[in-house]
């Protein structure tokens, strides 16, 4: 049964409080056997409390599947990119290295790549994925676009990403401020900026005004 098309995932990094509930809840999901698939990124740990949960964005052109030499990673009709098929996965790590979002996780004990599959056992019957069901600030939210437009009137969902010359559209949306100029998120734009000592808060409060 596919995930209902009106239900979508929305990530709102600005709402993340770094509580790690999603990480704990993720491990409870039946589709990845007690392992948490969520990575909580600390954007600039020394200077900021800003955190960012990383879940699979479910690309329409999944790089993990593109690089899989064993043809093990498949995308279901609803656009969810599934974990590697166990009989096919050769644990080569290509997907782990290739994913621009850093989502796939290699389980060396099981010789199997597992990744966030939107808690397929839950979302395919219309339930929220584990992380979205526990997130106290709803930085990870699962619902309809109308619901989102009503609850977050100052933000809009963006699901187009730019990796150098490659454009990717994802099933999962990122909420960005309504007045942001970008129609897409350029992932490599900040690649050459220093990661340590980067003034995140200054960025948010100063440069956004100019944009």
């Amino acid at each position: 049964m596919p995930v209902p098309s009106e239900l979508e995932f929305f990530i709102d990094p600005g709402r993340c409080i770094g509580c790690q509930s999603c990480i704990q809840a993720c491990a409870e999901c039946d589709t990845h056997k007690g392992q948490s698939m969520i990575q909580l990124d600390y954007v600039d740990r020394g200077r900021s409390t800003q955190t960012l949960p990383v879940i699979c964005m479910h690309c329409d052109s999944p790089t993990c599947a593109e690089v899989c030499p064993a043809d093990a990673i498949k995308r279901t009709e609803d656009g969810v990119v599934q974990s590697a098929r166990k009989p096919r996965c050769i644990a080569c790590n290509n997907c782990v290295l290739a994913c621009p979002f850093g989502v796939p996780k290699m389980n060396t004990k099981m010789n199997l790549m597992m990744k966030c599959d939107m808690c397929y056992d839950r979302s395919s019957v219309g339930l929220k994925p584990m992380c979205a069901s526990v997130c106290p600030s709803q930085a990870l939210a699962f619902g309809t676009r109308e619901e989102m437009a009503r609850l977050r009137p100052r933000a809009k969902p963006v699901n187009t990403f730019q990796f150098g010359a490659q454009t990717i559209r994802t099933k999962v949306n990122v909420m960005v401020p309504n007045d942001a100029a970008q129609e897409h998120i350029d992932v490599t734009a900040a690649m050459h900026e220093p990661t340590i000592g980067h003034e995140v808060l200054d960025d948010v409060f100063d440069t956004q005004v100019e944009a």
Binding site: S61, T76, E77, D78, R85, V158, N159, R169
Partner: protein
Amino acid sequence: MSKESTLDRAPVRGSVPPDRAPLANQPKWRQDFPIDWDRDDYVSRRELVKFVVLTSAAFAVGQVWIAVKGLFRRDAKLPAAQVATVDELEVGDAKTFTYPEGSTPRLLVKTGPDSFVAYDQQCTHLQCPVVPAVSEGKLHCPCHNGWFDLATGQPLAGPPRRRLPRVLLEVREAAVYATGVEDSAS
């Protein structure tokens, strides 16, 4: 930028190649190794088990159905019909007839001055016509060298494993009558 411009970005059905060109422009290998689940030939273990179990169950139910059908079968009593006269054949001769009307050919063999046997002419192996070998007391199927006992119709040698269906005969007033058919159900 207006909010509406992002709202029509519904998730794309079917995966898109990295260069976002249509599938027709893609190399052949991309069609051979599709990323989309439903275009892949992958058979999951669960699908295989489901197929095997359901197919086996269908066979099992079919067997039960055949058994139940056999329990309630009532053979219609066939009317007696004259198939030959006693003097028509020499001992050791044979003739074919149909009984009941429209059946497969039956083989009537005169084994003694007053004794006859009759069997279905089709070999129970692959339906070749059997020929009488009266001097040996057998029926012979030349297709695969199958042999049947002339007296009982039981298979003696070769591929056939079931006996020939026997036509029950009765001799009345110098005429041979067929009175019924014994199928080789065993």
